[in-house]
Symmetry: C2
Subunit: 271 residues, 2 copies
């Protein structure tokens, strides 16, 4: 998917909501556990109930790998289901990969070709040649970790290098990489006040913002400081939406929560 197609979907749906599909078998409704593939059954119901309210889905690979082969199969079925039934949706493999060049190429093949995701999250620690293999794919997007939403973000990401925080150095350096127009960035909603400075370095790129809801981030603040002329934001909520209920009405409850966010987004977009 191109960035322009994503922007046009945002305007059409009046939403820049991304729903995180982080499925934990201990948290889903009990009746689903009798199904052949409970993870996929859960995802399918959530997707069918919310696809008109969001523009992106983001399965976190950890939640699938934890269930081994079965989990990987559920991930494959989930992405295939989205691509077949809702091809207008932007898909994010939240995989946080990154390795030396020839290895990153294999990860890019895994997520862009075999699974056919539109984008993948990538860690910056190993530098340019660990990220450029992802950037080489046309109409695919590489979402680089910049400032994450967890407490550990302050261990290294905010250390001072060359007179500024490390994460700003990551942003700056990454803009010099080949095909850097294919970059988006992860910036945690729990640190909305940092967004003003971030936008000075990368005014045009999309930001994937986790941490709304369960992690305590605030939608209005994120939009105030992080939005640009072409919206430039994908706001992710995972647990707050998909675990809104753990009873038979879980999909409707998820849709209700997603609608609440989409309503707020619509107001913001029309300001």
């Amino acid at each position: 998917m191109t960035t322009n197609e994503l922007i046009s979907e945002i305007k059409k749906k009046q939403s820049f909501l991304c729903i995180g599909l982080d499925v934990d078998l201990n948290k889903i409704p009990k009746h689903l556990l009798e199904k052949d593939d409970p993870i996929f059954a859960f995802n399918k119901a959530i997707i069918d109930a919310t696809h008109h309210l969001c523009v992106a889905y983001k399965p976190n690979t950890a939640f699938y790998e934890a269930y081994g082969l079965k989990g990987w199969k559920s991930l494959k079925k989930t992405i295939d289901y989205i691509n077949t039934n809702y091809p207008e949706i932007f898909t994010i493999a939240d995989a946080k990969r990154g390795d030396i060049g020839n290895t990153s190429s294999m990860y890019a093949k895994a997520f862009f070709e075999d699974l056919n995701f539109d984008s993948i999250t990538v860690a910056p620690y190993m530098g340019k040649d660990s990220v450029e293999p992802f950037l080489a794919f046309k109409n695919k997007h590489t979402i680089l970790l910049a400032l994450t939403s967890n407490q550990g973000a302050f261990d290294f990401q905010t250390l001072n290098v060359k007179g500024q925080d490390l994460y700003k150095q990551v942003l700056e350096t990454s803009t010099t990489w080949e095909n850097s127009k294919n970059l988006m960035y992860v910036v945690g909603a729990t640190k909305a006040e940092f967004l003003t400075d971030i936008r000075k370095i990368i005014p045009h790129n999309f930001l994937l913002v986790p941490g709304i809801g369960a992690q305590g981030g605030n939608l209005q603040d994120v939009c105030k400081y992080g939005m640009n002329d072409s919206v430039g934001l994908l706001i992710n909520s995972s647990r707050g939406i998909i675990y809104a209920s753990n009873k038979e009405d879980f999909a409707e409850a998820a849709a209700t929560k997603a609608k609440e966010l989409q309503d707020q987004m619509s107001i913001i977009l029309n300001k």
Copy 2:
């Protein structure tokens, strides 16, 4: 596996060699492509021919994920084969994972429980709460990226923070984390001269050293600067061993290359 068990295997086998199982279907002998599971067939032959010459195997997950479900199945068969037939071998999932706390727990479950690896490589960028969930597992080892073997290592890892290189800050900070005794570190062989300083910060931990062979690192230099009282080194070679031949004799050719390294290691251990 405990660290003491690993050290005792090193002494018994007179080897601290780790063999990287990075299987690329474009590089393996053509006759294997007719097999049901060419990746597993290749790994099995390599493992049977080299298990007495090395103490560790390190499959890089990218090379399995690139082949989708089939690849994940080959990875599972490979680790199961090693654990069943050569339980004395230390196994490393070269996965370079790392995410917010509850997600890292899922990765830890995936690699320590479902696949039953002894260890996993983890990226440090997201800090303490992204690594500690791995460290919580008893007799499992977390191999933190410190100074990697690629050119991109110089993009961020060697930036000056608090008067020293970032990777040294990563080493220092990580020693304060809970269960930090379960930490090992990745330090590229292409930067052997850095090992003296590294050993001042982490005198006791094991180092996983990639970059010998195809990437140009030198075994003697690494041992000179990096070895400690309990050896403290796992030297990895991937392509230099597993692709020594792409004909029917590939497994013997791999054993010959592994024996060359093991011979050198034996001399170093007996100095």
